[in-house]
């Protein structure tokens, strides 16, 4: 057994540089002759841009250029593309309005890009940006997704009638209608899934430069997927071929999905760098991040569940309005459809499911992936509904779930909404979590709280998610405009060290450690001798990046495939040197051995001979030990789990305190339990953030962002969460070589519903039945007041 191999709680290789401030983020990079860019952003949610006067700005000290949408149009710069084509119910393709990176005619959200000012220093650019005179004609805005398709609502894009981007559906409507006819009980619920702002700790940042000698561009950008940016910006927006464009994403300080999209700033800076002939650097200020990073969630849904007299689920009907914001961001269209509708069977045997999703434009920042992307929305809706059904039918919530859970014996399980789950033990997840929290003895704890004047509640959320979107052929058939494989190259060096080049691109996921652990286990090389290289299109093979909890499941699998090729080649070399047949060579713990003998060669010796091929099977084998692989998964992976939250509400103030949080998760095999626990802690905190504290608030009339700073947008803090009780229930994935499933989003997907279900359990004695996130003290107190007023009437 190798030290620090698969399964070890290896300390993170990244920590030495990250914890001592030695990381290299985009803003740490400075290029010779660099200039600084500052964006003039729209102060209006919706306004016609009548005229832009830049003469004063151009005369300001240090100013090099002021560029506008008109310049982009003159240069024939194209629209930012959307990566997934969704078709409406009637077969028509979604409406894809143009999105020229600098708005040429209209500003469509507060923070929309109107001009770029380039100057010698950042402060000079900021000063000059204030001198750019933009003549706006303010127009009425539509801000709330629930209002966007109402007759007479202001249009975000003239092409999109009633602001509808698409009107999509999935499932068998007739079967669902039939199920509701047979129902003994129907539970209905109206829900809002609140809009969130991702707030990665590192703001977005980019430096673009043009090398006129080689006619080549380089873009440094804080991105989760540099190859995707190169492809989208090069091929679709600016018309730069791959060999003339390098995209580098160095260390990236968090993303949560907000660094997936190809942003306007990247294209504007790259285009402008050639115009000004010097590198241009831009780093978002925190207020800019709030306004211009893609936001997440923002759904309004009506949902109905049909049950028979025994509490078996017969059918589920879901109607959702999902905000796209002002423009279609890179993966925006896929999130409330193929990452949401397909998850609505959940862990249950519900035979008929029908979901309709209307995607609507609003005069707000674009909405795209945010940790879980679609799956938290699905889980929240379903688990709120199931809890409500339990309450209405006076059934224990755990019992009702147990009655409807897909049994392990039913695997693989085809859901009525396209997905086929390969494996999972949902009953065990539920039972383990219920046991860990002490489900059966909750009543005693509630009594104890009551004595102290507190309201105690308990809530369950039983989730499944789909990670590592795949396979590419299916993605393509569903409208995806990309492949969703991953790449890896394993370069075994002559003296025994290894460099791995991966298309995955961690921004907090610790892949430099876990990928090295895979190499250590499979090749018997100490992790100190393994370097993981990522984030540079000139260095790593074409790959799709890190999001959707895909790195281990897809990138890790590509790595294993490349490692297998190294081993296979090593066997050929060893067989030659040990004068044995290749079939007789075994490889274990870094040693090639002729089976049943003591004849052996260490992998380091084999590597050296691959590069110094004196004694080498030249007839059959090329020198070198450097192998590449691409891996296209056969299916999604399906992590699942059960979260149970126990909390107390102070009825005097409405303050919610989470007392305990149990998470039992199935992530398949685990490479590094310490890192997985960290991901669960962070993910659950993210979900608790949505449930209790976070919410993006725009003024409904003006479209001004009211939560535009950390003073008003409440990120969860360490003292908002308890010490988590986490456990895993390992059911290895059946279709990838490591048996892994992914863990980065699970905590967020499962947790919010558990918290709100617990809150409603606490407030049930007061008659509170409805609640939308966030459960801020004020909103909880208000709900208590409303319920007591109702009771008094």
């Amino acid at each position: 057994m190798v030290e620090n191999g698969i399964g070890a709680r290896t300390k993170r290789k990244e920590d030495a540089r990250f914890l001592t401030g030695k990381g290299t983020y985009t803003d740490d990079i400075n290029r010779p002759h660099q200039t600084h860019g500052v964006f003039v952003r729209s102060p209006h949610a919706h306004a016609r841009i009548k005229k832009i006067k830049a003469d004063k700005a151009l005369k300001a000290p240090g100013v090099i250029a002021v560029l506008t949408g008109a310049d982009m149009v003159a240069d024939k710069v194209n629209s930012l593309p959307c990566g997934w084509l969704i078709h409406s119910k009637d077969g028509s393709p979604m409406v894809e309005p143009p999105h020229i990176p600098l708005a040429p005619d209209k500003a469509r959200h507060v923070g929309d890009h109107v001009a770029l000012v380039v100057a010698e220093t950042r402060n000079q650019a900021r000063d000059a940006a204030e001198l750019v005179e933009v003549d706006y004609e303010p127009l009425k805005a539509v801000v709330r997704v629930g209002d966007a398709d109402k007759p007479g609502a202001p249009l975000v894009h003239d092409q999109a009638k009633n602001n509808i981007c698409y009107d999509w559906h999935l499932g068998d409507k007739a079967a669902v209608d039939e199920a509701f006819k047979k129902a003994a009980h129907v539970t209905k619920l109206d829900l809002i899934n609140s809009r969130l702002i991702p707030n990665a700790i590192e703001p977005r940042s980019a430096i673009a430069e043009y090398d006129s000698a080689n006619e080549r561009y380089t873009l440094y950008t804080a991105s989760q997927n540099p190859h995707v940016i190169r492809l989208l910006m090069g091929a679709f927006v600016l018309g730069i071929p791959e060999h003339k464009l390098r995209v580098v994403s160095p260390d990236v300080g968090g993303g949560f999905g907000s660094k997936i999209p190809h942003y306007a700033e990247e294209a504007i800076l790259t285009w402008a760098s050639k115009k000004v002939g010097r590198p241009i650097k831009w780093t978002a200020e925190r207020s800019e991040s709030f306004l211009s990073d893609t936001h997440g969630r923002d759904h309004v849904s009506h949902v109905e569940l049909a049950l028979d007299k025994d509490g078996k689920f017969l059918g589920l009907r879901v109607a959702t309005k999902a905000a796209m914001g002002a423009y279609l961001s890179t993966f925006a269209s896929a999130i409330p459809t193929y990452l949401y509708g397909t998850l609505l069977a959940g862990v249950y045997t519900t035979p008929a499911v029908y979901v309709e999703v209307k995607a609507l434009f609003t005069h707000t920042a674009p909405v795209d992936a945010l940790r879980g992307a679609g799956r938290p929305e699905a889980c929240y809706l379903l688990e709120r509904l199931v809890e409500r059904a339990a309450w209405e039918t006076k059934t224990d919530p755990v019992e009702l779930r147990r009655k409807n859970v897909i049994p392990k014996s039913a695997m693989p399980y085809q859901t009525p909404v396209a997905l086929q789950y390969d494996c999972g033990d949902f009953v065990k997840n539920l039972d383990d979590a219920a046991k860990a929290i002490g489900w059966a003895s909750f009543a005693n704890r509630r009594e104890e709280s009551k004595k102290r004047g507190m309201l105690r509640g308990i809530g369950v959320s039983h989730y499944i998610e789909a990670c590592g979107i795949a396979p590419s052929a299916v993605v393509g058939a569903l409208g995806g405009r990309a492949g969703l494989y991953e790449s890896a190259e394993v370069r075994f060096h002559p003296t025994g060290s290894v460099t791995v080049f991966t298309g995955s691109h961690p921004h907090g996921q610790s892949n430099e450690t876990t990928f090295a652990q895979i190499v250590a286990s499979k090749l018997g090389v100490p992790i100190e001798n393994v370097e993981i290289v990522h984030g540079d299109t000139d260095r790593v093979p074409f790959g799709m990046g890190t999001y959707g909890s895909r790195s281990i499941a897809v990138g890790g699998s590509a790595l294993v495939k490349a490692i297998d090729k190294v081993i296979a080649k090593g066997k050929k070399i060893a067989a030659h040197q040990l004068e044995a047949s290749e079939a007789d060579i075994e490889f274990k713990d870094g040693v090639f051995r002729v089976a049943g003998t003591d004849k052996q060669k260490a992998i380091g010796e084999i590597a050296l001979s691959a590069y110094v091929p004196h004694n080498f099977p030249h007839e059959t084998t090329e020198p070198g030990l450097d192998e590449s692989a691409f891996y296209d998964p056969k299916n999604f992976t399906f992590p699942s789990g059960c979260h149970i939250c126990e909390l107390e509400v102070d009825p005097d103030t409405g303050k919610v305190a989470i007392l305990r949080f149990v998470a039992v998760d199935d992530f398949g095999n685990i490479i590094n339990p310490m890192i997985v626990e960290g991901q669960v802690h962070g993910g659950v905190t993210h979900g608790i953030g949505q449930a209790l504290t976070e919410a993006c608030v725009y003024d409904a009339e003006s479209g001004q962002l009211l939560t535009g700073s950390m003073m008003d947008y409440c990120m969860p803090k360490a003292d908002d969460v308890p010490s988590f009780e986490v456990a895993t229930n390992v059911v290895p994935c059946t279709h990838n070589p490591l048996g892994v499933k992914g863990c980065g989003e699970a905590g967020t997907i499962g947790s919010a519903a558990a918290v709100i279900n617990a809150l409603l359990s606490a407030l049930a004695p007061l008659g509170v039945k409805e609640f939308d996130m966030p459960a801020s003290s004020h909103r909880v107190w208000q709900a208590i007041q409303n319920a007591s007023r109702k009771a008094a009437d």
Partner: protein
């Protein structure tokens, strides 16, 4: 941030003189409100006069009857000062609950009072204890100091030098913090002094104010129950995305109860 001239005088006299010379001078102590506003380009001082170099403004003194806190004394010093903890434990507790450790080690009592943010903690203690604000020109009684939203009795260029707190018989502070900023949505400071009971509220209104009805009730019976039934009117109270005026009004009563309970 726009450019500005920076000065760090060593004496109070120099500070006042330097201030006068600038066209739009501002004093800076901890800078917790001023610097973020400057970074956001919302304010544009011509001159920043840093009071951090004036030694006489910093420090804590206590005799039998009063605790005197120098204007540039950071919150953390007040929170961990043994003399304060002994004489007015509620004041130490209040200082220890402002912001976070970074804020407490930079932010100062003088800065907090000069700015008079409606949600700041210190105004509750100053008003609740009937403190005296000493400046380079005069002494101002707490009851005369808070005038309105970010508005105080300070004149242009007037420098707070120290705050003198009379030691009460007992006192207590209860704060309901804004979850995002940790400022007070409502904070209530209650003190039983030789001149009577004082109840001061911060966070709820445009500036800190006293609640006379509660003071009367507590003078009759200094117990949490004495204020429990007092309904605070929402009229004129602050309302924002974090808390409506009605919620703040309700919290004033709850926090008053808790502040009395905290008096021990």
């Amino acid at each position: 941030m726009y450019s500005f001239a920076y000065h760090r005088p060593a004496s109070l006299k120099d500070a006042a003189a330097t201030f006068k010379k600038g066209s739009e001078s501002r004093f800076v102590a901890g800078g917790h409100t001023l610097l973020p506003s400057m970074k956001l380009r919302l304010v544009h001082p011509s001159d920043l006069v840093d009071l951090g170099g004036v030694a006489e403004l910093k420090g804590i003194k206590a005799d039998g009857g009063t605790v005197v806190v120098g204007a540039t004394t950071p919150h953390a010093d007040v929170a961990r000062d043994a003399k304060v903890a002994k004489a007015i434990p509620a004041l130490a507790k209040l200082a220890g609950g402002i912001g976070d450790p970074q804020v407490r080690n930079r932010g100062t009592i003088g800065g907090s009072l000069a700015n008079s943010d409606p949600a700041a903690d210190y105004p509750a203690a100053v008003l609740g204890l009937g403190a005296t604000i000493k400046t380079d020109r005069r002494e101002i009684k707490a009851d005369d100091y808070f005038k309105g939203l970010f508005e105080t009795a300070l004149g242009d260029g007037e420098i707070i030098t120290s705050v003198s707190f009379p030691v009460p018989e007992k006192s207590g502070y209860a704060k309901f913090a804004n979850p995002a900023s940790r400022y007070a949505i409502v904070g209530v400071f209650v003190a039983k002094t030789k001149d009577g009971v004082r109840v001061a509220v911060t966070g709820a209104g445009p500036c800190a104010f006293r609640h006379k009805e509660m003071e009367k009730a507590l003078a009759a019976s200094f117990k949490p129950d004495a204020v429990a039934g007092i309904k605070v009117k929402a009229d004129g109270l602050n309302s924002d995305i974090h808390a409506s005026a009605e919620y703040r009004a309700h919290l004033v009563t709850v926090m008053a109860k808790r502040a009395v309970a905290a008096c021990g």
